[in-house]
Symmetry: C2
Subunit: 324 residues, 2 copies
Amino acid sequence: MKLSDVGEFGLIERLTDNCVVNALHVVKGIGDDCSVTRGAGDTLRLVTTDMLIERVHFLRDAITPRQLGAKALAVNLSDIAAMGGTALDAYVSIAVPTDLTVAYLDELYLGMKQLARRFAVNILGGDTTASKTDLVINIAVTGEVPSSQILYRHTAKAGDRIYVTGCLGDSGAGLHAILNGGTEGVESLVRRHLEPEPHLSRGRWLAQSGQARAMLDVSDGLTSDLGHICGQSHVGCTVVSSRLPLSPELVAYCDNNGLDALDFALSGGEDYVLLVTGSEELSKEPDLFEVGRVTESLDRILIGTTGEARELLASGWDHMRDDR
Amino acid sequence: MKLSDVGEFGLIERLTDNCVVNALHVVKGIGDDCSVTRGAGDTLRLVTTDMLIERVHFLRDAITPRQLGAKALAVNLSDIAAMGGTALDAYVSIAVPTDLTVAYLDELYLGMKQLARRFAVNILGGDTTASKTDLVINIAVTGEVPSSQILYRHTAKAGDRIYVTGCLGDSGAGLHAILNGGTEGVESLVRRHLEPEPHLSRGRWLAQSGQARAMLDVSDGLTSDLGHICGQSHVGCTVVSSRLPLSPELVAYCDNNGLDALDFALSGGEDYVLLVTGSEELSKEPDLFEVGRVTESLDRILIGTTGEARELLASGWDHMRDDR
């Protein structure tokens, strides 16, 4: 059987059964943005890990080493944000092709340390080794959250409003511009792709608000990630196209290049905004964009710009498929 | 500046200054087998991470996927053992070349899960992604240890005896046999290289004994690793060649191939036995081999088989050097 037949999510499911043999301290294993274990007192401990591989997640000549170091950490911090947590410590494993210069690595670590410092995150360990061809960075991050405040994927309820904490599709359009060589004039989109901002303080605020019910970060694309919440919460959803927050830069880029901004917003991926379900109260918050509702019916519906309803089809990024 | 000019340890030193920005919960950052942070009550939390890269740490046709999965976890469990800790949870990131079969990955995870189960370790998370050429496995493992029992590298004292928990050099000789195509008849050496056994219960026993002072696991080679203890503890050492525990298989392999067993024992690497300093009391323990003394003089001395003293020169594995 080939990997492409199984796909990324099929593979994860296949490999990760029977993985908990000592359940005493475990609150939540594989299946959310972080694992959750019991910590000191009323605190839960979070752990997440993400690997970036050259030529799969990044091209060495399309991102500066400083941006790459920061991004490798940011995507992990975003997972801590997605549980409502505070990030604590990072562990950085790096495999370095021997043609890389020390100056490149200095810059990479500088980018990582600058971001870490902004969020009071320590770099407490790691592994430094050689690689034959590709640069590989794996970061694991620990965090914590009061047990009464944690936000999972599986806890959405019918009637919840669905919100996102920022514009959708910019990162995907930025990547499109990079791959098609037309980054001039669309620097803000490119920056959204190369310099994602983890929404840690927004995540903490939502966790403390008492108004949020389920949360994750939009890494694969809104449709795919909302699908995780629906699937794990046994609910459906209705998303209203016209309510998706689109930046003027995204709209202009798509207008100028005959592209559909909605496609990027729904399945562009790597936006690293938070997707949260919760009460109507949250609709009063600035920078929180209501995009739809959680429904009792398991259908996942997209209301188009002209009012027609169609099925919201997951088309997020799957690293294992050959057809992307 | 080239990476080979700086070397693995030089690079780590260069990249990892100013990494602690939130010291409140940190007991020990970079520089030991695990990071150490405050946990619940009197417990300290341990985290370690190790990356294995194809063509650097393993050749895909020289190790079965089941052995590879187990080894990737074992080297991390050995780091927990080296602090006297109990391992809790593992986080597995894997980057998979698309030519790999699902059956290969099934076997790899089986090997990992079998070892995890033996030591009551959960697999609680990870990342599964594609790779263009090489298979990459990064594992992070968490653990814990009562704060009164933890064993560091920097706590050796002059007068301590130096012990190891098993034979030295077998793994290096096993690798030598693999690379030179002569594994027939030396299966036990090859197995020591491909199926390292983490000394977790021995590590716990030593931590609880109250007789041990400093500890680490022998991953780079006895000379190099003992050098870490000496450097960080500001002490020296005397190692007695004739006391190094050598397996009959190692001696026979070296005799038959004109090799020096002592070379393998001193700098072969990947033995994953524990190296511990402590009281004379420990010399009564079975399977604990006294190999020398910690000295006040900072010299690192090797007493040869004919009684002559020479400098113990670190010649352990450095992944960044081109000359190995």
